[in-house]
Symmetry: C2
Subunit: 416 residues, 2 copies
């Protein structure tokens, strides 16, 4: 019998009515001839409320207690889902992370899964139960509750699917799947049937909000295929998997746009060991995430170091860097907010040459100026003016033929 | 070093501010030279919300999942208390019922404590932690979360105090202690310094809302002394303990009034074996709690059977009993709502004769008609008209000298 792991996020279980809807899906899946494990997030809003209570109680809650507190959100949700399944005539049982055998390291609030002992899940599945597991949590070697950090419920689902050797892992969410581009920007964006782990990883890093990188990395490491699909529709979604030979036929899988970026350049700085380290350790001390880093070719012993950060961090980055600029005797600090990052992603780049040239040419013809370029093996990212972002996405989407309209005329229409 | 168990109810931890207040108390208690175990209920309102969610999700939630759901309320509260203690410079750690070693039987929603393994608590206390334990919950032999039913947090505190051989157990609540009578009815009601377990049990059964009978029974069985006192004041409360010889000097310890009662009489029924059983099994089938039961002396082979129930149950009791009255060929069913039960309680009754006569005489002089009488070894309860209840309480309170005013004139006032 097929074994399927289904994960439902907080929006999917946000009200008693939606809880019943999920319960109905779980029962239907079981009735279609599957053994079913459900991974459930806290009801939408619950985790935020708990965080608010914690902040009101303590300026800096210790992580052990913070985990114990947050874990209750998922624990309430699984009990409600199990009740709903049973109320609809199904047979379900809820398990906390610890009960499900999810063992983690000791790093509270960002624990890593160390091992999964799925004995109890197997026994319950053998007794025809739908097993409802709390996402986002586990137990450390001291028996304390831990949480897995952002995107933790996706990680729970993928790790369980791996440990149970599941035939399928479905991530139910409020989007229909992974698209060639954001459909709000590019109206003819297409839902992808499949995507390679590496592509999804690059997209996640490039502003696509579908999945957290950590869950995808775990899936890649253990080769767990999973499908991202909508909680509210019954359409097939997008399957993330190991890359296959045929995947390379497609040059570009998708385009991501990351807005509200700022560009910072340390101008004309000595090209010496340790200077880049000095700059970025100062930035890190301000808890600022740096994205693209580009260093230009050294001329006359000096170079420029540019990088992008989120706009909101620009003021504090400027404050932090101003003394450093003096210290390392650079010519100055040049900053620019309101820029955007456009990334084109595809494992097909490895076997198709000229992708970068085609991208730059396309943007150039559109009169869009490229301010920074950074590339990885399967991604080309460019920084452009924020006002050009939408148009750049549409031009690129067309250039790489991502809107492959399959003209499916209804036979009925043709005959009448 | 003294070991003290303190229990705080839902109202005492109802807001972040109150949580900090409790945290301060715990730290002060530790600083006074005690090892401290705190037992905490869910924040006021949280359990009701969870019950509401459960009812909206399932018409009849199965008890295992209901327990898993409700237990999250206390689990969130203990994490918040521990955070608050730590934020104030103290050192606390939270433990769920399972982590605290509270093992129960398998009876979900009304589990009995089977055993307590306080190893972890002892270790944490030895490391100077304030140990914050979730009330109302435990773990059954299958490792599932159970809840202990109404008054469960009091029970947790008393059972832990017993298992840890604590020097004191304090039940912090929103009343100042146990009173000779409800101070809202009898303005000169006195807070009792001490009360025997049996007296408190009779009071609990007689409408006093201070403690659930179950927790008191447990304390009596294992000889755990405990003090009921206010969360919001620092006054000493009332200590419940084994009766002592000196306790018997007081004839009556307290007076309880139970309002909104109804009286039901099955009139002129054959005095035969099985008929009372028939009547009360029908009442039980409607899930109606019966309080006093009085059967009059048999005359000409017939008798009357009277009992009291809550007013709200009168309609369904009448419906259930009407066919039975015909079936057993009784003369009829006489019902009366709006009655009250007045109970006088005291272990002194055992050694003082004439208490009943004194009570009846006192009520008679006040023109208060007694409709039913029922006695136990240390309690006399009478059913009277609801409108007479307050006056009856005041007359009785005076008759038995419960308002022993200690006229404490300030020496300062006298000298000036």
């Amino acid at each position: 019998m097929r074994l399927i792991v289904q994960k439902y996020g907080g929006t999917s279980v946000g009200t008693p009515e939606r809880i019943r809807h999920v319960a109905r899906r779980l029962i239907e899946t079981q009735q279609s001839g599957c053994r079913v494990v459900a991974v459930i997030s806290a009801m939408a809003g619950v985790t935020d409320n708990l965080i608010k209570l914690a902040r009101e109680t303590s300026p800096q809650p210790e992580e052990r207690e913070f985990d114990a507190l947050l874990a209750t959100g998922e624990q309430a949700a699984i009990a409600l889902i199990a009740m709903a399944v049973n109320a609809l005539g199904g047979k379900a049982v809820s398990l906390t992370g610890a009960e499900a055998g999810i063992l983690t390291d000791r790093a509270h609030t960002r624990a890593k899964i160390a091992n999964i002992s799925p004995k109890q899940i197997h026994e319950l599945l053998a007794d025809d139960y739908i097993v409802v597991v709390a996402g986002f949590q586990g137990q450390n070697p001291d028996g304390e509750t831990t949480t897995l950090g952002r995107g933790g419920s996706d990680l729970t689902a993928i790790a369980l699917a791996g440990a149970l050797n599941a035939d399928a892992c479905q991530i139910f969410t409020d989007v229909d799947g992974v698209f060639t581009c954001d459909p709000r920007v590019v109206t003819d964006a297409q839902k992808l049937e499949e995507v390679a782990y590496d592509e999804l990883l690059e997209m996640a890093g490039a502003g696509s909000k579908v999945m957290q990188s950590r869950a995808v990395e775990f899936a890649k490491k253990f080769g767990v295929e999973f499908e991202v699909r909508s909680s509210f529709k019954s359409d097939v979604g997008t399957t993330a998997k190991e890359e296959t030979a045929s995947m390379e036929d497609v040059v570009i899988r998708g385009i991501s746009v990351d807005r509200n970026q700022a560009k910072v350049t340390v101008d004309d700085v000595r090209d010496e060991a340790g200077i880049a380290g000095r700059i970025f350790s100062v930035i890190a001390s301000g808890n600022i995430s740096v994205d693209m880093i580009v260093q230009s070719v050294s001329k006359h012993g000096t170079t420029d170091i540019s990088f992008t950060i989120h706009e909101n961090d620009l003021d504090s980055a400027t404050q932090l860097l101003t003394p450093v600029v003096k210290e390392v005797q650079a010519a100055g600090l040049i900053t620019k907010s309101g820029v955007a990052k456009l990334s084109v992603v595809g494992i097909g780049m490895r076997s198709h040459s000229g992708v970068a040239a085609r991208l730059f040419d396309c943007l150039g013809k559109g009169g869009i100026n490229i301010q920074l370029i950074s590339t990885s093996e399967i991604k080309i990212a460019v920084v452009i003016d924020g006002q050009d972002a939408d148009r750049a996405a549409r031009l690129t989407h067309q250039e790489f033929g991502l809107a492959k309209f399959v003209t499916q005329k209804s036979p009925l229409t043709e005959e009448e």
